[in-house]
Assembly symmetry: C2
Homo-oligomer: 468 residues x 2
Amino acid sequence: MGAPDPNDPGLLTPAETSLLTDQYELAMAASYFGREMNQPAVFELFVRHLPAHRRWLMAAGLGPALALVEQMRFGPAELEYLRSLHFPEPFIEYLADLRVTCDVDAIPEGTVVFEGEPLVRVTGPRIEAQLIETLLLNQINFQTAIATKAARIVLAIGGGVPDPSGGLIDFSPRRDHGADAAMKAARAAAIAGAGGTSNVAAAMRYGLTPVGTMAHSYVMSFEHEEDAFKAFMEDFPQNAVMLVDTYDTLQGVRHAISAARATGVHLRGVRLDSGDLDALSRGARALLDEAGRRDAVIVASGDLEERQIAHLVSAGAPIDLWGVGTDLGTSRDSPAVGGVYKLVADMPVPGHWRSAHKRSPAKATRPGPKQVFRHTRNGRICGDVVGLADESLEGRRLLAPAMRGGERVIRESLADMRERAAAELSALPEGLRAPRDEEIAPYPVTYSERLEELTRRAVAGEDIEVPA
Amino acid sequence: MGAPDPNDPGLLTPAETSLLTDQYELAMAASYFGREMNQPAVFELFVRHLPAHRRWLMAAGLGPALALVEQMRFGPAELEYLRSLHFPEPFIEYLADLRVTCDVDAIPEGTVVFEGEPLVRVTGPRIEAQLIETLLLNQINFQTAIATKAARIVLAIGGGVPDPSGGLIDFSPRRDHGADAAMKAARAAAIAGAGGTSNVAAAMRYGLTPVGTMAHSYVMSFEHEEDAFKAFMEDFPQNAVMLVDTYDTLQGVRHAISAARATGVHLRGVRLDSGDLDALSRGARALLDEAGRRDAVIVASGDLEERQIAHLVSAGAPIDLWGVGTDLGTSRDSPAVGGVYKLVADMPVPGHWRSAHKRSPAKATRPGPKQVFRHTRNGRICGDVVGLADESLEGRRLLAPAMRGGERVIRESLADMRERAAAELSALPEGLRAPRDEEIAPYPVTYSERLEELTRRAVAGEDIEVPA
């Protein structure tokens, strides 16, 4: 093991995420190991309360999270570090050979979910299920936050329906919380319906469309704005979108038009990065149309946020593409999804599942492995029932097998996830579509009779056998 | 190059961050390359406006950012991907051999900074300086956001002065925005004064103190709460901090005391994770004192936030350690620092630096390479002057050499950064210490006469020779 380095780049390989865990996970695991308490257990990942400014969430992050679980290893350096923290040697030897063998059932990415609904259910040896808690939460909480924000922006661009044009472009890498966030923000945005990303690494890894124009510094690197535009058109004749606000925006549009004339290059569009976007987009549109450039698109960027986008769209501003950075990549108005991961059943006696629940007043947990049953009326979702996993209730079952014996059994394509997300947004009730904060009746999530009964008995202190 | 995989773990190696860049950086670089526009240029990273709820920022992220710049490479897979995007072959060949050779001057980590002040100044061949923009912003913006939030919490714990006890513990990995964010949040918190982190990987990489207790699921895995406590005490006699709120908090404290009696283990403390922390910490303290456990500490956790901590501290709640997760790791009330990276000078004629600035009304940039001169009175900072880099003004110069010819020339120890941060927080004026939002006079940041004059002439359209 090398000495710790306070200036280390800090990037982990997939295998090294074995230590991307809260210290207590390892302490508990060591204790369970020493006591031979590695019987099967069931944990569920769910959101107790929706975050501020959110009435629903769009689940995301499952694919990368399960890939990390599959590839997690405790290598020599990690084991040596745990030795230095005085973890017992037999436990360290156990970790050296550890491969996760759990079963995972989960709600697929791109699905709209609500509070109290298990997004992920992990069934497996208690130690393994415990050790992957932090990694699952670290990946799924924030990717769900970003997919949700992206979906809201996609609805704003579409005027309340999911925009089919891919008008949202992820411009967030410079404001995302680090390298992993930048990769996953681009991916989450794509699931929610974004048409492209400025992040080249994410485009390469995840098969997204890389998008970009030029920076102000490029324009400033030439004597005159029009020289810069001509140079860029000559070098990238297929991608001639000109950033027009370095000096004077409408003058910039005129320079873009004249540069296109001079070079004979097809002007794909102009980008507005500052100023009154409503007025400037109309002014730019008029100039472009006047010059016979009706197919040139108008790209807006510059600290755009959801409400402002909704306002510009409803005002009819002629903007075709929306490059959103900070607001998208950090979900600025609601940057955290508070997902938790709780024990809901265990098996102290072989073959007999026992309910588990926490009784502390503010944080009670309903016992037993669960399923979500979703109801739809006239093409709109109208209510969910959370029941026990073995119940046969009406409605679409949201959780599906995702991992069996530690191997992924679903690997969805991006197209599948995008299609699902668009369908989910189309099925949202009217009141949940707009970016507004007024009180409305929450979406109805209720509990099945059997789950209510089980909860009552658990609260009364009974240990109850449950199905799993 | 492998086919893109929508379920890839998405973690990059340090070398692979070459493509963690906005597409336009590569487009501009290709254009500059083709036009032999690779003359020296100067870019500065600064914050135009302080984010919401912030009156100062604590600079962080420089060490990992420069390590990444040093290790950045374009490998065969990355080059193949750029080829597929139709970047010209000579440019791709240039990238294959590229090593960053820039000079970097920067404000060291742990320093308090204000708007308009360059945190990082990059001088080097235009293409290289351009290509590292996104990576620098991706790393420094968010780490500065987290260090700032951590510093505010450290002040809250100390009742307005930096808490010297390391009472803040980073509990954020499950809410951080991915793997990189978790590593850097722990590091940023440590710089600001946190005493430990629950994140084992970050503790290992960065030499931090790993901290942890147990989860509710551990307590629930035993028949009785006291059995769980006894088991944990036997397994971790050196780390006997008991989580007491799974069922009834004060009953839990009694169980912790009786388990310690039964096992003969020294009770290090109890953790309260829910409920009325003021009342419960007093109740727990009384029970512990009554049992002769005066040295047992009380750890609080559970969605703690800055204002609540300040309130509990001023009310005198007997809490010794504060485990903060979401609020710290996402800087929830202000999750983005809007740092930008702007061209301030270039050298179209060899040997002659020329000022560069952007004139668009809302986003004007002051020209020329800059330095920050800080003034102090009676041990408190009282005003900064931003001047040109070659000026000899009064005050402490904040920017110092960080990289020369692409090699890091500072590699500070964590202790150095922590010491600086504590000194900086101690030197904050009274009005900037408390977590309040009322209007107060902003900290005075002014510009030197020479910089004002240069700005006036640049605004008037002159190209001015500047020192660099």
